[in-house]
């Protein structure tokens, strides 16, 4: 009897390799690439926070950037307008993000499917509108500058390691969350709200919980980003910022957690590297999305996972293998409609 199945070993090997490359990156690449890796990790964390809602709770949000931008504005306000120290900046940032999440959650808790999308879209745009209107707090269109990192992580590669560590810890927490009883209960809500209610759960309350957890991680991403850029402007809260997070999650594979991270890396790569050589890079991005939606509904991770399991099955037919326990944990499909009868 082996301790780990073949699938688990491959997964663990890939994870270790990825972390190894992640640690070695500043020795292999210049400041530009390392800066991009920081950006991609942060974008990945942001997309994972969306995945928690969209992939596990079945609640697709188009307002997540509103939450991360609120947290970032909390940091920016304390740094630029108040002149407070780093701990106060971060605390206010997280608190602002959580308050925004709580308000958003209270507004959206009784909805699902398309209605949830509509409400979160409006919420994100409210933050955007406020960030333009409240210029004494947000600096309006001009944004807030002068947000400095603590001196211990001021160098680009120091900050990269910091981001890497934070993102790894957050990913681990998310990984645990979706496998906990809490994770099962929110998956239950995705599958059928009425049955969960029959079992004694309160779906609305569960939605508030998952929204808050997701909002926390989005806030962390927003704060990491504002320290990376040293700058925050209303653009960070705009619909396109939310949408790109959802697209990253879908591209990588919704309901997989690691998929959104991969999707984020691909999109950041195309946006920042391909764009310097290819003027029509948005076309390339669009083509990739079309191909993914047509041929790999479950995203890149979903497609690879399906292919892998097919290969395992064929292997099993040929000879006895060790794929016990590999059949579980298929990625979920992205469905906007709940399966609940109306």
């Amino acid at each position: 009897m082996r301790l780990l199945s073949l699938t688990a070993r491959v997964k663990l090997g890939l994870l270790v390799a990825a972390i190894g490359i992640g640690i070695a990156a500043p020795y292999l690449f210049g400041s530009f690439i390392v800066g991009l890796l920081s950006l991609a990790l942060i974008a990945g964390l942001f997309a994972m926070s969306i995945d928690l809602l969209a992939g596990y709770a079945g609640l697709v949000t188009l307002g997540q950037a509103g939450i991360s931008a609120t947290a970032a504005y909390g940091v920016g306000y304390m740094a630029n307008k108040v002149g407070a120290g780093i701990p106060a900046q971060v605390l206010v940032g997280i608190a602002a993000g959580l308050v925004a999440s709580a308000i958003f959650a209270a507004m959206a808790m009784r909805t699902g499917g398309v209605y949830f999308i509509m409400i979160t879209l409006a919420q994100g745009m409210i933050v955007w509108g406020l960030s333009i209107r409240l210029y004494k707090i947000t600096g309006a269109e001009n944004g807030l500058t002068g947000i400095e990192r603590p001196s211990a992580i001021s160098e680009y590669w120091q900050y990269y390691y910091f981001v890497l560590a934070v993102v790894l810890v957050c990913s681990f927490l998310l990984f645990i969350a979706v496998r906990s009883p809490f994770g099962s209960s929110i998956k239950g809500i995705r599958e059928s709200e009425s049955r969960m209610r029959m079992l004694g759960y309160n779906p609305a309350l569960q939605k508030v919980y998952v929204f808050m957890v997701s909002g926390f991680f989005a806030s962390v991403a927003g704060i990491l980003l504002v320290y990376l850029n040293g700058f925050i402007s209303p653009f960070a809260a705009y619909i396109s910022a939310s949408a790109i997070g959802v697209l990253e999650a879908i591209l990588g594979g919704i309901g997989t957690l690691i998929g959104p991270m991969i999707g984020a890396f691909i999109i950041v790569y195309i946006q920042n590297i391909v764009s310097t050589n290819l003027e029509r890079w948005p076309t390339l991005l669009g083509l990739i999305f079309i191909v993914v939606i047509l041929f790999a509904r479950q995203g890149l991770v979903g497609a690879v996972s399906t292919g892998w399991h097919r290969w395992l099955e064929r292997r099993e037919r040929v000879g006895p293998g060790d794929s016990a326990g590999d059949v579980a944990d298929r990625p979920g499909d992205l469905s906007l409609e709940s399966s609940e009868p109306r």
Binding site: R2, L3, L4, R9, L12, G13, V16, A17, I19, G20, I23, A24, P26, Y27, F29, G30, S31, F32, I33, V34, G35, L36, L39, I132, Y135, A140, E141, N142, G143, T145, G146, E155, Y156, W157, L225, N229, G230, F231, S233, P234, F235, A236, Q271, N272, I273, S275, T276, N277, E279, W281, P282
Partner: protein
């Protein structure tokens, strides 16, 4: 199997620790890494070799070309304007050759898509890997401010010929020592003149409608301040602010009609321009209320996209007037028209002028611009004949220009453009006040429009 796995994990961990222990990374990253997109212009190395052999001339030895990074939005909603900016910049070097002060000029154009995050990543690439001496960018005020903040401690010169946020060369000037607005302008610089002109024209009450963001606040504020200080009246309740990007301005136009002012001042950007102008014309206001435009409202990039009857005869002020009857202007307009088949907008004129400033400065420095602050001082001392007209920089690094009152008229070939009907000479960003006097007031915002009467 499990043992082997554990061993592999342990090996990776040890490797990682060794790497971490091997001193700080980043010390030599510029030499070890080939960055993407940093391919030098063809002929770079060849020219360097030639430069070394022809030392008999009084030519300065340039071991490396002068490198310029241009950041503009080439995709997304601002692609048309950003494209004009790129075309103007490239056309200058095509026309006069990529050489100045004995040095080759090399430049790289990158697409920010109007996104500050992308712009900040790309500017790092331009500075750290491409090795840019000069950064020219961007179009949007927020991206420009983000770039200025990122670049303030770097060993580069940052020029913003388009992004016109007032405080960059005013109240926040000292934050950005390596910044210059050569080829650019401050938002309120052109509308200050327009306010005075409107009063002199006999208008006594004006209502305004401007886009509700920093650029609109500054353009509108500039107009309101000089107009009311001259003796005109702007009722604060008759200052309308439409959201950025709004395209249903009919209700605002009927409100303006209800105010029955002597004239209306308007500043719109993007999709709101054609919407505002078509509503204005459809409501029959063209003959009823004189419309005065902020510079961008009637920039040629907007004028060429709307039906002629909606703009013909309208008056605005600007530092750019494509119909200005001066050789430097018309040579540029003709060259641009010949190359791209359209009359150049102020975006194109701005980057062309920025390129002209670079070329003249590099020539004056004999090709050595390694001392950035000395270079900026030399740039300030230049007196150039640009497509905008005569240009000199003030102490704050902002150009002092002739500002033109412009009217949209038909050219000989049937196309429309802005012709100059009056020139205000040597207008700086504080006009008509002194810098000390002007800087005591806050920057224009929705709450502060400099309204002397209200």
């Amino acid at each position: 199997m499990t043992k082997r796995l554990v061993r592999a994990v342990a090996l990776m961990a040890v490797l990682a620790l060794v790497l971490v222990a091997c001193g700080t990374p980043g010390g030599d990253e510029t030499t070890t890494t080939a960055a993407p997109g940093t391919t030098a212009a063809p002929g770079t190395t060849a020219t360097t070799a030639v430069g070394e052999t022809t030392t008999t001339e009084a030519m300065v030895e340039c071991t490396e070309p002068i490198k310029i990074g241009l950041l503009q939005p080439l995709t997304g909603g601002l692609a048309a304007s950003g494209g004009d900016a790129k075309d103007g910049f490239e056309l200058y070097w095509e026309t006069f050759g990529q050489e100045a002060g004995g040095c080759e000029i090399d430049f790289e154009v990158v697409d920010t898509a109007g996104n500050p995050d992308t712009a900040l990543q790309l500017v790092d690439e331009l500075v750290d890997n491409y090795g840019a001496d000069i950064i020219v960018g961007e179009l949007l005020a927020n991206v420009t401010l983000a770039l200025a903040d990122r670049l303030k401690d770097k060993d580069v010169i940052f020029m913003s010929p388009i992004g016109s946020a007032d405080d960059l060369t005013q109240r926040d000037r000292d934050l950005y020592p390596n910044f210059t607005r050569a080829g650019g302008w401050t938002s309120s610089q052109t509308s200050h003149v327009l306010g005075q002109w409107a009063y002199d024209e006999g208008y006594r009450t004006v209502a305004t409608i401007c886009t509700d963001y920093a650029f609109g606040h500054e353009m509108c504020g500039g107009f309101v301040q000089t107009f009311t200080e001259a003796g005109g009246t702007v009722v604060p309740a008759q200052q309308l602010w439409n959201p950025l990007g709004s395209t249903d301005l009919g209700t605002y136009v009927t409100q303006l009609q209800g105010f029955a002012p002597d004239a209306v001042f308007s500043l719109q950007v993007g999709a709101s321009v054609s919407d505002f102008l078509s509503n204005w014309s459809n409501f029959g206001l063209m003959d009823e209320i004189p419309l005065i435009g902020g510079e961008v409202l009637l920039d040629i990039s907007n004028v060429r996209n709307v039906p002629p009857e909606q703009v013909l005869g309208l008056i605005s002020s600007g530092h750019w007037a494509e119909g200005l009857d001066k050789p430097a202007t018309q040579e540029f307009v003709d060259a641009f028209d010949a190359a791209f088949g359209r009359i150049p907008s102020y975006y194109a004129a701005a980057t062309w002028t920025a390129a002209q400033y670079i070329a003249e400065t590099v020539a004056a420095m004999n090709g050595d611009i390694s001392d950035r602050f000395a270079t900026l001082d030399v740039m300030k001392g230049l007196q150039l004949d640009t497509p905008f007209g005569p240009s000199v920089l003030d102490d704050y690094g902002n150009p002092v220009y002739d500002i033109y009152i412009r009217q949209v008229v038909e050219r000989g070939d049937g196309r429309l453009w802005n012709e100059v009907i009056k020139t205000y000479e040597n207008v700086d960003q504080f006009w008509p006040k002194t810098a000390e006097e002007y800087l005591q007031q806050p920057v224009y915002s929705r709450d502060f429009q400099g309204n002397a009467g209200g």
